[in-house]
């Protein structure tokens, strides 16, 4: 029986090549999107599943709650570590480590030092009991139980000591930052499974006390929290959770800062389960983890996949029910030959299944293409090979079955319910309900396509708007170079400046901290007493010399610039001025912010500019000099104005700058950035979202139009006789075209009327997240509506015009 079904299915697919092609392509697009997105979901949900007692592992993180906002930090204050280790009950294990970013690593046998080794941590001696690594050399007991010891992963060991036996590498000396000396005491295999614990060099914590991290590691302050400080615990059992949380609450309360009550700002410790680590949406993973899975993005992606699949199924349903009359004869005959309704339903489902199977094979190819297209959107470890995973295969099979049922069931019911008599008497007219369902489905398809189109336009405009919005300072032709972190010498920086000044293409120079807009924030809490009340603010600090404002073309509204590099003065921005309650910028001049030795005068007020993407609002800020220069200079970045009319020459200019760099910092890598590029990077997430949306829109429009095309071909072919008669009666080409397209155009119009408010509502909500937003102008809706209508008219005309052009005598004769 199956063989018979198989044959007839295959012959039918082959006979209606065009329709089968449309069905297969539509389903394949939906399936490939689902496969890729399914793969992404699977990938992100299978991180760190292999640890022993993984469900008992928690990370302690910090949450700050104030009346204005909730803030997260995935680190803890250092004194908590000792408390947890000594006094916390209900846990069987704990480990603390500090993520570090050394600048350089050296070894006697290296020909050159390695700059900025990544994924380095300082870990306490419990670390290797907490996570079970496979030891290739050395052992977990003694590897990091004292100062000056380091464990490397296999990968790092191979990089530093190629072609050496692991046991041979033990005993080698590695020197970090020219000063911290360590002996290699162990080599462990990298975790084979997906994990966020991607550390490559694990240095004993005692060593850290001699490194630049010394202050951090020995910090006694309960109220300073750094995301570098990581603390993990393993509960005795699941029930211990609330008990442990209670103890942490007590600790938080006991070591509360004075500010807590006064400003209503509370700190608490939150136990983050290991399974949530990878989805660190508000919290984050580790300082050096770049990829951060986002559940809301994954959900949106799942919706997109579902929509695309649904559109494909609809094409299938529409084309098959439309074609039903052609299958009717076969159905009638089969019934007289003794087929039951179930057998027919099964036969049609089988046919759908085969078609879906062909689509699935095709979609694997498409999936590979999609993975390429979205390479920058997709984490590195996610590759085509994952399709061989049994779980993914299972998912694929289930999906194919569901899709076959979804698209095959309704047509199968319609087809199999034909009565043999009426079929054999040629009295099959598609029943009314089945026509209106088909119409409803077309409307549904075009609603989805239309919503996608409108969203794409609005999102694209919003992002363009943000990226081209005036930041409030100059961004043209300005580059900046950060001097090596390790080399604190101010003389070298000044020498660098002098040499740069000799390059004629550099029109202006400034030494300072970060550019006016960046994703690094320096802020300090300041208090202003205006006589009646205290105004407490987090004031962002911008470091710059006397040419900084000039170079970035930031105007002073009142007062003057800083007198020199080290004088303690503020040039505040207008937002802070308003917050302090001064009516005019002039009123703020010479007022004192802070008290005692921190009392600092406001000498100038500068105009407002955006300190980060225009998504966020402008925060209170002050330009200051390099006050702490004796201890640690904040002036570490050189800002340069290039000639903006000779952008062709910039590569040459940059090469010149690099020559100067190499003469001063021969050990360090040269990295220069343009400020407009830096700003564009604020919108990376939006940019990739646009790309995704563009594709989703393109594909949904494609699928819907393919379906429309199929239906138009079908209806037109059924009306050739009518067309012929009308033509003989004198109908013009346009009249015929209108006649053939009218019904579909009405449906597309209805879809627009429903889609427009839906899209408006969704986009209106989406835009609420942005401080500066584009208008949802009526013409966007009108334009996309017209666009879709025009597109579908073109598609329909391809068929209808040729049908209308046909010689009527021919079509009538064949009848």
């Amino acid at each position: 029986m199956i063989r018979n079904y198989f044959k007839i299915a295959w012959r039918n697919i082959w006979k209606n090549k065009l329709f089968s092609f449309i069905n297969i392509i539509s389903l394949a697009i939906g399936l490939s999107a689902s496969f890729v997105i399914g793969l992404m979901v699977y990938y992100d949900f299978t991180f760190d599943k292999f640890h022993k007692d993984g469900d008992l592992i928690y990370r302690i993180t910090t949450v700050y709650t104030s009346p204005e906002e909730v803030d997260y930090n995935y680190g803890v204050s250092v004194p908590l570590i000792a408390e947890v280790k000594q006094n916390l009950t209900g846990i069987q294990q704990s480990t603390a480590f500090f993520t570090a970013e050394p600048s350089r690593i050296m070894n006697a046998s290296f020909s050159k030092a390695y700059n900025t080794p990544e994924k380095v941590i300082y870990a306490d001696s419990d670390f290797f009991k907490f996570l079970s690594y496979e030891w290739l050399a050395g052992n977990s007991e003694s590897a990091i139980d004292g100062p000056n010891k380091v464990v490397l992963t296999e990968r790092r060991a191979k990089k530093y000591f190629p072609n050496r036996d692991y046991s041979d590498i033990l005993g080698e000396i590695l020197i970090y930052d020219d000063s911290v000396s360590t002996t290699v005491t162990g080599i462990v295999a990298n975790f084979k499974e997906r994990t966020d614990f991607t550390f490559e060099e694990i240095i004993s914590l005692d060593t850290g006390k001699q490194s630049y991290m010394q202050d951090q590691i020995t910090d006694e302050n309960w109220n300073s929290t750094s995301s570098m400080t990581q603390l993990f615990i393993k509960l005795n059992d699941k029930k211990a959770l609330s008990n442990v949380q209670n103890q942490l609450d007590v600790l938080a309360k006991k070591n509360e800062s004075e500010k807590a009550v006064k400003y209503n700002e509370y700190r608490s410790f939150y136990l983050q389960p290991l399974k949530d680590l990878h989805f660190g949406k508000d919290i984050g993973i580790f300082d050096f983890t770049e990829y951060n899975a986002d559940k809301s993005i994954l959900t949106n992606l799942l919706f997109i996949a579902a929509f695309l699949l649904l559109l494909g199924c609809i094409n299938f349903i529409n084309l098959n029910t439309a074609q039903a009359t052609q299958r009717a004869k076969e159905i009638g005959i089969r019934k007289t030959l003794g087929s039951s309704k179930q057998q027919l339903v099964f036969q049609f489902l089988w046919e759908t299944f085969m078609l879906t199977l062909v689509a699935a094979v095709l979609s694997l190819g498409l999936a590979a293409v999609l993975l390429k297209i979205f390479a920058d959107f997709i984490p590195e470890g996610l590759h085509f090979g994952l399709f061989a995973d049994p779980l993914i295969i299972g998912f694929g099979v289930v999906l194919i079955l569901i899709i076959s049922l979804l698209s095959g069931f309704y047509p199968a019911m319609i087809l199999s319910s034909f009565k043999p008599v009426s079929v054999l008497k040629n009295r099959i007219i598609s029943t009314h309900s089945n026509v209106s369902i088909r119409k409803g489905l077309i409307v549904f398809q075009f609603i989805i396509a239309q919503v996608f189109v409108i969203s794409t336009i609005v999102v694209g405009r919003q992002i363009h708007f943000m990226m081209s919005k005036d930041m409030g300072f100059k961004t043209e032709a300005i580059t900046y170079v950060k001097t090596p972190w390790m080399d604190g010498s101010l003389q070298k920086r000044q020498l660098f400046m002098q040499k740069l000044a000799a390059i004629p293409q550099i029109e202006s120079l400034s030494l300072g901290g970060m550019p006016p807009a960046s994703n690094t924030i320096h802020a300090s809490g300041v208090i202003y007493l205006d006589g009646k009340k205290e105004i407490q603010t987090d004031l962002q600090l911008l470091y710059g010399d006397d040419n900084y404002l000039n170079l970035y073309d930031i105007k002073l509204l009142a007062g003057r610039n800083l007198l020199n590099d080290t004088i303690q003065e503020y040039v505040i921005n207008d937002t802070y001025r308003k917050l302090l309650g001064f009516k005019t910028p002039q009123d703020a001049i010479n007022k004192i912010v802070g008290q005692g030795e921190n009392a600092i005068p406001i000498v100038g007020v500068m105009e407002d500019f955006n300190q980060y993407s225009v998504k966020s609002k402008i925060e209170p800020m002050a330009l200051i000099g390099d006050w702490s220069r004796k201890r640690y200079s904040q002036f570490n970045t050189i800002h340069m104005q290039l000639n903006k009319n000779s952008s062709d020459n910039w590569p040459k200019d940059i090469a010149n700058i690099e020559v100067v760099w190499n003469s001063i910092y021969p050990e360090s890598d040269f990295k220069i950035e343009f400020i407009d590029k830096t700003i564009a990077k604020f919108y990376d997430k939006e940019t990739s979202m646009t790309k995704l949306l563009n594709w989703a829109t393109g594909l949904s429009v494609l699928i819907s139009c393919l379906g429309l095309f199929g239906l138009v071909i079908y209806t037109t072919e059924r009306r050739v006789k009518e067309i012929g008669v009308r033509k003989i009666l004198g109908a013009s080409l346009t009249q015929l075209n209108v006649l053939l397209c009218k019904d579909f155009l009405v449906l597309i119009g209805i879809a627009f009327v429903i889609a427009a408010p839906l899209a408006w509502y969704g986009l209106h909500n989406w835009l609420q997240d942005y401080a500066y937003k584009t208008n949802l102008s009526w013409w966007i809706f009108a334009l996309s509506g017209l666009g879709i209508i025009l597109l579908s008219l073109i598609i329909m005309s391809v068929k209808t015009i040729s049908a209308a052009n046909e010689n009527p005598v021919k079509s009538l004769r064949t009848e």
């Binding site: 044959k7 076969e330 089969r334 007289t336 030959l337 009565k419 008599v421």
Partner: protein, 222 residues
């Protein structure tokens, strides 16, 4: 007795009026009969055959087939019954275009859950008997009308039905082809198969053992 129709009425409502397609049909048919139904176009021949074949229902009356009352039966049992005992032959052949001659003849066996080796043997016999072995891999569109009807008859016979219902089986054939088919029916009838055919041709009707006349859905005894 094979089947019996008592006071069968069948009508459709059109514009609030009842249009009778069959009225007061009484009929007894014994096993082994060969009956021809005649009557002008639109007199209800096809309708009557469809009722007998259980493909179509009726509003009033009784229908007993091999001692079972069809009019009280559920759709599902009815189709079981005709699948078991009745074979259909149509004027327009009604072969499945996407299946070869072999597969067309085999299809009824598939619906009767007959195993593959037995199927092979049965189909081979049938191809042999009708002299169409050489055509078994052709599709219906590659055959002449007479050949297609031959396949249609072979398909109707493959399940060894007790009754064959043929609605103008030779309507689309030339006289030589018609004669062949009618000769075939006669042989089958002699082997014991009951045959009811609808026809416009006196010559064809003459093959039957009894002729039944219809006029406007009624039996015409004149």
């Amino acid at each position: 007795m094979l089947l019996e129709l008592n006071n069968i009425f069948k009508w459709v409502n059109q514009g609030g009026k009842r249009i009778f397609l069959l009225s007061d049909i009484n009929l007894k048919i014994d096993e082994g009969e060969f009956i021809s139904i005649m009557g002008p176009s639109g007199s209800g021949k096809s309708t009557l055959l469809n009722v007998i074949g259980m493909l179509d229902g009726f509003q009033e009356g009784e229908y007993n087939f091999m001692g079972e009352s069809v009019h009280t039966m559920k759709e599902k049992n009815r189709s079981k019954l005709y699948k078991e005992y009745i074979g259909f032959v149509f004027q327009a052949y009604h072969l499945i275009d996407e299946l070869t001659v072999y597969e067309n003849i085999e299809t009824p066996l598939l619906y009767k859950d007959i195993n593959s080796s037995e199927r092979k043997a049965l189909v081979a016999d049938m191809l042999d008997r009708f002299n169409i072995v050489g055509k078994k891999d052709l599709f219906p569109s590659q055959l002449s009308g007479g050949q297609q009807q031959l396949v249609g008859v072979a398909r109707a016979l493959i399940t060894k039905p007790k009754l064959i219902l043929a609605d103008e089986p030779t309507g689309n054939l030339n006289s030589k082809q018609s004669e062949e088919i009618m000769q075939l029916f006669k042989e089958l009838n002699q082997e014991g198969v009951t045959i009811i055919q609808a026809t416009h041709s006196e010559t064809n009707a003459a093959y039957g053992s009894r002729v039944l006349h219809l006029l406007d859905g009624r039996r015409d005894f004149n």
